[in-house]
Amino acid sequence: MTTLVRKPGRTFAEIVTVLAAAVVAFPLYWMVLTALKPPGEVQSAAPWTFAPSLDSFQRVLTVSGFGRYFLNSLVVALVVVLLSLLFAFLAAVALTRFRFRGRTVLLVMLLVAQMVPVEALTIPLFFLMRSVGQVAPAFGLNELGSLVLVHLAFSLPFAIWMLRGFVAAVPAELEEAAKVDGASRLRFVWQILFPLVAPGLVATSVLSFIHAWNDFLFAKTFIISRSENQTLPQAILVFFKPEENDWGAIMASSTLMTVPVLVFFVLVQRRLVSGMAGAVKG
């Protein structure tokens, strides 16, 4: 009886869900479709004259030194992910498993740090990076190191906050047992705790990756005179022209920019959902 009553409602809900999915996915579909259209057809909306062509991708990859920018973005994002995981994991361990004075204050400060508008700090960071460059050239203006530093500062508070929930979820008995077995704390942290919080590390890495990969403002502000150190978002601007924008190339480069994140996301989506839930609960 219940199934009979419920079924029409559920079918309706399912139709709405699929429609919503289609609406949400449409811009991405249109991006890929436009990127694959042969030159001259980009202006037409009709998808049924569809004859896939890699022409736009070719234009992107040959004309603008796109490969270099792509590589720069990738290097910055991966270094940020690795370092923020390492630093955030250590800090999360200290903040959850160690007792010391000022712990709560630190946690509140981390929370507050997440709320500071990144964009407002562009001004002091610009001057800071200029001075840093005089001491450590690899981290100064126009260098990828400056981007790594800045992104680390902004992804660390969130990463620590997120990992804290995962570290806290590991039962205290495990640590006691390891201690009894004669394992040092360092050994416990690396050989037992680290693998156990892997889902949290994965979820955190995605968010740190996106954060660094998406950056438009810092690359725009810090990389001024050495264009070979520019990152992906700035590279696309080449295709905006006063006469006529090259939409095929813009959509092709947007596709190339989205694909790495999308792959990353789909690979870890299960862990991401549980990771978000873990962070929210933690």
């Binding site: 399912e14 869900t17 919503a20 999915a21 289609a22 949400v24 996915a25 811009p27 991405l28 249109w30 991006m31 436009t34 909306a45 630093f87 250590l90 800090a91 200290a94 903040l95 160690f98 007792r99 010391f100 709560t104 630190l106 507050v112 709320m115 500071v116 964009e119 407002a120 700090l121 562009t122 001004i123 002091p124 960071l125 800071l128 500062a153 902004f154 508070p157 620590i160 205290a172 008995e173 006691e176 009894v180 704390r185 996106i210 990969w213 998406n214 438009f216 403002l217 696309i236 939409w247 959509m251 947007s254 596709t255 920019m257 994140v261 999308l262 996301f265 959902v273 839930a277 929210v280």
Partner: protein, 319 residues
Amino acid sequence: MATPNLLAPEAPAAPPAPSPRRRRRGDGPAAGRYLAPAAILLLVVLAYPIYQLVVISFYDYGQAEAAGNAPLRFLGLANYAELLGSATFWTVLAKTVVFAAVCVVGSLVAGTGLAVLASKVRAVPRTLLFLAALGAWATPAVAGSYIWLFLFDADFGLVNEALASLGFGGMAGHSWTFGTTSAFGLVALEVIWCSFPFVLVTMYAGIRAVPAEVVEAATLDGAGAWRTTTSVLLPMVRPMLLIATVQSIIWDFKVFTQIYVMTSGGGVAGRNLVLNVYAYQQAFAGSRYGLGAAIGVVMTVLLLSVTGLYVRSQRAGLA
């Protein structure tokens, strides 16, 4: 507990094992070592710049001062006075608040509504929705801005072409980015599109954590779907809703890339400025770093008051 002696070897006689809390007292030095890398980085690249932002906002900091060719002139609160006395600032602030509000409400309604829907349907439609949402979430802000710009492009955009073929011939060549409302509306659409997935995932996780028996009991008591959702589900997922709301406020208040990219740096004659873009323009285009910093401080203060709410709601988790 078959092996109490193994678990508490130093106190075999005492039945209750010493609490781990007590034994961990005095972890200070070790904690310092574990915290050092993150702490040093955050102090240098986050805390110091925040302090600097406040300092710069008190000075007449222009091109010459930035280059070190002129001595700094202390202005006190003059930058703030200029800001609060200028009509532009208030207009931009109002636009920022309205824009952020539209984005927050839009992504909360879309995200929560779809989360409720997703919890009611079978795996296949749900997976389709989540894949689409993950796609929108994964799209970098810059790429997302270009996609939506292209969809609404005056000459080659799908939207105008579709409207024209539906009989709205006047829409051919219509510029969506020209008028203030439609330009802001277009950016808001993009922002909602890429930020509702976070709400969806958070709220879905929250709804799934509600025990099925509670919902069943409500149904048995004669509550319909709407009543169950509003009177049972929503109150139980309120903590999640609060987190989603505060996060959305923080993000949408700070939108930079989308506005900058989609309205070419704030629109014709700065009609589409939000505080963030305004601060950036004053500082880097106008070489008025002091004034830009003051705008940044005002923004930070506004956001921190929102943060206060968030911290209060999270206090239980901090103990």
